[in-house]
Symmetry: C2
DNA sequence: AACTAGAATTAGAATTATTCTAATTAAACT
DNA sequence: AGTTTAATTAGAATAATTCTAATTCTAGTT
């Protein structure tokens, strides 16, 4: 349960919440909210279009800055498909991405319980993995 | 065994070889050779620098065109790490990539024999996978 | 409540990998 | 040899992202 902000004004950032050490400014909050509400792995442009509705006058540079800050503090993940614009994902649990070429949509793909990467890949003993990215392209059953 | 070109001139493209339907021009051959000899997943720039040594006057646009043609005919793979410049890989067997953050080098990672992706990922029955990309970042044991 | 120092935001310029364009050259096919 | 088609080329264009320098905001302090 998140502690409530005494003023109760939804537009005033809650100073009691710990955002992994990130100062939650108005702009960052809006960007973050939009990502939390999103289901479609939006690009920076997509996010910018949404933020503009709630906060006219926000600049694209700020959206990029906010996204970078959120990624840096591990509140969202940045996902890249080939050379397409980066997409952003509020799902922090370990997962991969499936790019449906029929619909163009991107779906999260969870790992099976107990699945160990070392059962799958030939990695030297003692390899330290800091980041894992699994991307699939194809079509889902219709 | 590849059929020999009757002239025996190493610079004359061998017209009898099947390159997955790709016409093997002088430029494409040089770019392809450089990739086959490479072990370090070069970028288009890297390849361009090498080609210039063997074929001064080749243009960067041509290198890009050649790489695109080679990728399109599945003679090489294009590999992307985040938003970095694309890299090219002559290894066509199914494999992933390990980005060693200490050295900056990229290593191929093979899959264990008999490892099935469906043992690892929660995918709907009947999903058709046309392309799979696995990228790891971390450090190798020293 | 004003003061200050540091951080965040902003508009617009700059960067950079890549793609496009239009002209030239080379190859393949009568 | 002549024609057609494809490949190469130089340079311009594009587009996502980052940078710059100025302004504004915030948090902490008086």
């Amino acid at each position: 349960m998140v502690k409530q902000n005494p003023e109760g004004n939804p537009h005033t950032p809650d100073k009691t919440q710990d955002w992994n050490g990130l100062r939650m400014t108005k702009q960052r909050r809006v960007v973050y909210d939009i990502l939390l509400e999103s289901t479609d792995h939006p690009t920076a442009q997509d996010v910018f279009l949404q933020t503009t509705k709630r906060m006219p006058g926000i600049s694209l540079a700020t959206v990029y800055n906010c996204l970078e800050a959120l990624v840096g503090h591990e509140l969202v993940r940045q996902v890249n498909f080939d050379r397409e614009p980066s997409r952003y994902c509020p799902n922090l649990s370990e997962h991969g991405h499936f790019h449906d070429v029929k619909t163009g949509r991107i779906h999260d793909v969870t790992f099976k319980d107990g699945a160990k990467l070392t059962d799958f890949l030939n990695l030297p003993e003692g390899t330290e993995i800091s980041d894992l990215e699994i991307t699939l392209r194809g079509t889902l059953p219709s």
